[in-house]
């Protein structure tokens, strides 16, 4: 008898709550904290990536509860929105380390152009080698730049913007996982170069990783991310028209 009363009540509460932004906002932050906790417990090893863990947990939860992405995003958008102010906040470390940045202007410019062109051509080229559809391979062209910029570029060249968002995230996670072992393997001790490379290749998630390791690396990663957003926005339409 009691369960007959309680179950509909729980059902009602669930229906009420899932229609508000609060649940999915809270769950998003909780999933990320679990990811962070795993990362700390694993001795901050780059292979244990908090974003990857959070996304897997949330996807599993959405599937289990039969929640569609739009409902989820209505709540989670408050977190998503902060990408804008966070991008603006990059001006602060840039200002703090400006003397070092200015000295490195030429290496940065050269690495930006080389990195940007490599990122676009190799992504589309490898995808074509594997026989990936035109629509999908176009959605990969801007994978190395920060999400809002990348989605805008994809729209412009006839790809699928929401697929680009996913590919951008995966690119960021791969970059964050690979950068430390890769740079150690190449024996690069220069924090500026290490940071700049990960920022060009894997935007904000790479930058977040760089800030975890070293502030100079983080600053250079942030600059690389901002510059590559601009460079890629200009270069993708040009390079794609050459490929056609």
């Amino acid at each position: 008898m009691i369960t007959d009363v309680i179950e509909p009540a729980i059902q009602d509460v669930w229906v009420y709550l899932t229609a508000r932004p609060l649940v999915w906002l809270t769950v998003t932050i909780a999933a990320y904290l679990i990811g962070q906790w795993c990362f700390e417990r694993a001795g901050r090893r780059p292979l244990v990536n908090p974003v990857a863990i959070a996304v897997v947990l949330l996807v599993a939860l959405l599937m289990l509860t039969g929640t569609d992405y739009q409902t989820y995003f209505d709540g989670a958008q408050f977190v998503h929105f902060l990408l804008g102010p966070a991008t603006v906040a990059l001006a602060v470390p840039l200002f703090q380390n400006f003397a070092q940045v200015r000295r490195a202007a030429l290496p940065m410019l050269a690495a930006l152009v080389a990195g940007s062109v490599t990122a676009i051509l190799s992504a589309v080229g490898i995808a074509m080698l594997f026989g990936v559809s035109l629509e999908t391979s176009r959605s990969l062209a801007s994978k190395s730049v920060t999400m809002p910029i990348a989605m805008g570029i994809t729209e412009q060249i006839g790809g699928i913007p929401s697929l680009t968002a996913v590919v951008v995230m995966i690119t960021g996670i791969i970059g964050a996982m690979v950068v430390t072992p890769l740079m150690d393997l190449l024996r690069i001790g220069d924090w500026r170069a290490r940071g700049f490379a990960v920022g060009v290749a894997s935007h904000g998630i790479g930058t977040a990783r760089a800030f975890q390791v070293n502030e100079i690396a983080g600053t250079f990663a942030g600059i690389a991310m901002a510059l590559n957003g601009i460079a890629t926005a200009i270069m993708v339409p040009l390079l794609i028209s050459l490929l056609d």
Partner: protein, 124 residues
Amino acid sequence: MIAALMGLLACQLAGELLARLLSLPVPGPVLGTILLFLVLITRGRIPDTLRDVSRTLLANLSLLFVPAGVGIIQHLDRLRGEWLGIAAAVFGSTVLTMVVAVLVFRGVSRLTGADTEASDRGRA
């Protein structure tokens, strides 16, 4: 803290407006970064609250990618069909880009004498 948030949002808003009005290919937040940087240069120092808020945001930058990343749920069918090509392209291209960028950076840095002790061996 509120003033610092206001500052960040105001720069973003100004950046968005500039990008629209001048139809620049550069996204609003990136222009906002440049604007805030110019403001800091002019003032010559960073307000404490702005420094704290920025540090907090940047320290948790990867959290901000989670909501869009969960969008993977909309593309599971496509990923199932083309996963090998997408994985090869994303992984191969990301590693290659990092290698090219770091080697070019180091090469040009050495050639132009932009190496400094502080950023080179000293910290490594």
